[in-house]
């Protein structure tokens, strides 16, 4: 059974028969086709774009401003910066990747309900290609908000980081988004119930957001929450981005967080691809 599974997953036989070039080309074509569909669907719906940009921006403006008149000494000692918005920015963008993940599973359910998934599945497209296209599509959608939110934030007194810093920050967010979308797609692999992603997101998004370093530093968390925070991928991206935003460059930042995120994203994608190969189906 195990051998059979691996054979199905990686076309080993094809490698030996030198069909690999054709197979790879086909998989790439399929991925491009499905990914383009995801992207086109996003741009065809301006509401999605506007909401996904404004939601984090509103958070940053309203929640971020709640500390605007706090004594500088308190801000310095608690947040290690005198501008809370600079502190919040990276955390908020990281937390909003949780919601991006939720949209990815909703879009899979939409494809199941409309039957479009079946249209894909009667073509020679492997299930994990479908999964990959969804993950990449959702994460790209999540990246839409980054540049515009940054512009908005600069108006609130945050300095623009160096290009390398900016790229590193966006890569971190993209990796986080890949991992979180994979988790959400895993949840909806077998079912086509609209309620599941919303219920799950209510259940895990808030704990993941508050137990991360997205809104507050973890120094004052109780030990059990510090433990969760240390394992929470939202923390990695929030802390990594924050170091870049506050210092404005990449000289003193800790690259290990990016490494953790890389492991998180690739791990989740691999688990997702294997699960999709076996269990993705129409009801």
């Amino acid at each position: 059974m195990k051998i059979h599974l691996i054979k199905n997953f990686i076309p080993i036989k094809d490698l030996f028969e030198a069909k690999w070039l054709y197979t790879t080309k086909r998989m790439l074509n399929q991925l491009i086709g499905l990914y383009t569909r995801e992207i086109k669907n996003t741009y065809r719906n301006p509401a999605i774009i506007i909401v996904s940009i404004f939601q984090p921006l509103l958070w940053i403006v309203f929640f971020g401003s709640s500390f605007s008149s706090a004594p500088k000494l308190f801000l310095e000692s608690f947040f290690h910066t005198n501008n809370y918005i600079a502190f919040l920015l990276s955390g908020q963008l990281s937390a909003s990747m949780l919601f991006v993940g939720m949209f990815s599973s909703l879009s899979l359910i939409q494809d199941k309900k409309s039957g479009y998934l079946r249209r894909i599945m009667v073509t020679p497209t492997r299930n994990y290609i479908i999964f990959l296209a969804k993950v990449l599509g959702a994460s790209s959608r999540g990246m839409l908000q980054v540049p515009i939110v940054l512009v908005g934030v600069i108006l609130l007194g945050v300095t623009m980081p160096t290009p390398l810093g900016l790229i590193a920050f966006i890569v971190a967010l993209f990796l986080l988004s890949l991992g979180l979308s994979s988790i959400y797609l895993l949840i909806t692999m077998k079912s086509s119930d609209w309620q599941i992603p919303t219920v799950v997101s209510n259940f895990i998004n808030l704990p993941l957001m508050f137990s991360s370093t997205a809104l507050f530093p973890k120094d004052n968390f109780p030990p059990w929450m510090q433990m969760i925070s240390n394992l929470n991928p939202v923390s990695y991206s929030a802390t990594f981005g924050r170091e870049i935003i506050i210092s404005g460059n990449t000289i003193h930042i800790n690259w290990i967080y990016l490494f953790y995120l890389l492991i998180f994203a690739s791990g989740m994608i691999l688990i997702g691809m294997f699960t999709a190969a076996r269990t993705l189906k129409m009801e």
Binding site: R26, N29, Q30, R37, R44, M121, V122, T123, P124, M282
Partner: protein, 348 residues
């Protein structure tokens, strides 16, 4: 048409060998054997819930058989699923397109899924012209009429030049005109592109008009197969369906010359075993309805002159075949598929 072979010399596009699908405790498809020749239009006819869609799902590699095997386009559906999928096209009962994209965008995605080369557009243009679709139409397909959407779906299904086309209830929900149009299209693509077509339907007329050969499926089993003509000969005569105002001893009718069999309508009996209060209805198979009917009516009138409520003459068609084989009309099977039925035949 029957001698068409594909290039490999194989005669059969689809071969099912004791194909079975079980969902939980329910047997959806029960040991089906099928052989469908290349180049033919094959119809799988049956009421809703008979197992037609389950058969299509297995043959298109969407679900694996519980037992048995199937060969589609010379490949095994379980072991060589991708090869099967390369060689088939599929048209859904409800049109499935990405409504927020234009027709060309929809076709482009389909061409990518089949990894077609740069000539995809040329192929698409030829097909679109053939189906009288406007390639420059940049409306979203959500705004298309049902007929146009159906045509677009067929274009997409034919784009990669499949050997076999699966059509699951292709004309369900279409108006009479569009249905006729689609029938012509199906015949045309079968002839001009040489595509083998397997279609499922629960419209008897459709199967009669379109299919070279047929199988009738009920409760997951094939209960009859053959060409429309061959199936009609199963009935071996016309059927008179007579409804009465009241019950009477109809055994006297069996002596009339030309009457083959007399059968009472199947009824679901009440829990206490008594007959439900429904007027008597007889299905009388006769050699020729026109000659027997006058004699039959005069015989009944002798017994009670005002007893006949309605008379219906059924010349053999697929509906009467189904009736003959199962004792029920299509509609009755669909309406009562959950309820337990048992037969009641009075002996004379």
């Amino acid at each position: 048409m029957n001698n068409v072979c594909n290039i490999n010399g194989h005669q059969h596009a689809i071969i099912c060998n004791k194909l079975t699908k079980v969902y939980g405790s329910q047997i959806a498809v029960d040991h089906i054997d099928l052989k469908i020749r290349y180049g033919s239009i094959f119809g799988l006819l049956g009421p809703n819930g008979a197992g037609k869609t389950s058969v299509i799902k297995m043959l298109t590699g969407l679900s694996s058989p519980t037992k048995g095997e199937a060969i589609v386009a010379d490949y095994n559906v379980v072991k060589e699923t991708l090869k099967v999928k390369e060689n088939i096209g599929w048209i859904s009962s409800e049109v499935i397109l990405d409504d927020s994209l234009t027709s060309m965008e929809n076709i482009w995605i389909q061409s990518k899924l089949h990894s077609l080369g740069k000539n995809w557009k040329q192929k698409a243009q030829i097909l679109m012209k053939y189906f009288e679709l406007d390639e420059r139409d940049d409306k979203k397909v959500g705004q298309f009429s049902t007929g146009m959407r159906k045509k677009l779906e067929i274009t997409m299904a034919l784009l990669h030049e499949p050997k076999i086309l699966f059509m699951d209830e292709p004309t369900i929900g279409l108006d009479a005109n569009t249905r006729r149009l689609l029938w012509n299209l199906i015949k045309k693509i079968n002839k001009e592109y040489g595509v083998t077509i397997l279609l499922t339907t629960h419209y008897i007329e459709e199967a009669d008009v379109l299919c070279d050969s047929l199988a009738i499926i009920n409760h997951g089993k094939i209960i009859a197969r053959g060409s429309s003509q061959e199936l009609k000969s199963i009935v071996g005569g016309d059927i008179l369906e007579i409804e009465f105002f009241s019950d009477f001893d109809f055994s006297i009718l069996k002596n009339i010359d030309g009457i083959k069999t007399i059968r009472e309508e199947y009824l679901s009996y009440k829990d206490d075993g008594s007959r439900p209060e429904k007027p008597l209805k007889l299905f009388i198979k006769v050699k020729n309805a026109e000659t027997v009917l006058p004699v039959l009516i005069s015989e009944i009138n002798k017994f009670d002159p005002n007893i006949i409520k309605t008379i219906r003459i059924d010349k053999p068609n697929l509906e009467t075949i189904f009736l003959e084989l199962t004792g029920m009309h299509f509609k009755e099977v669909e309406d009562t598929s959950d309820k337990e039925f048992y037969t009641h035949k009075r002996s004379f």
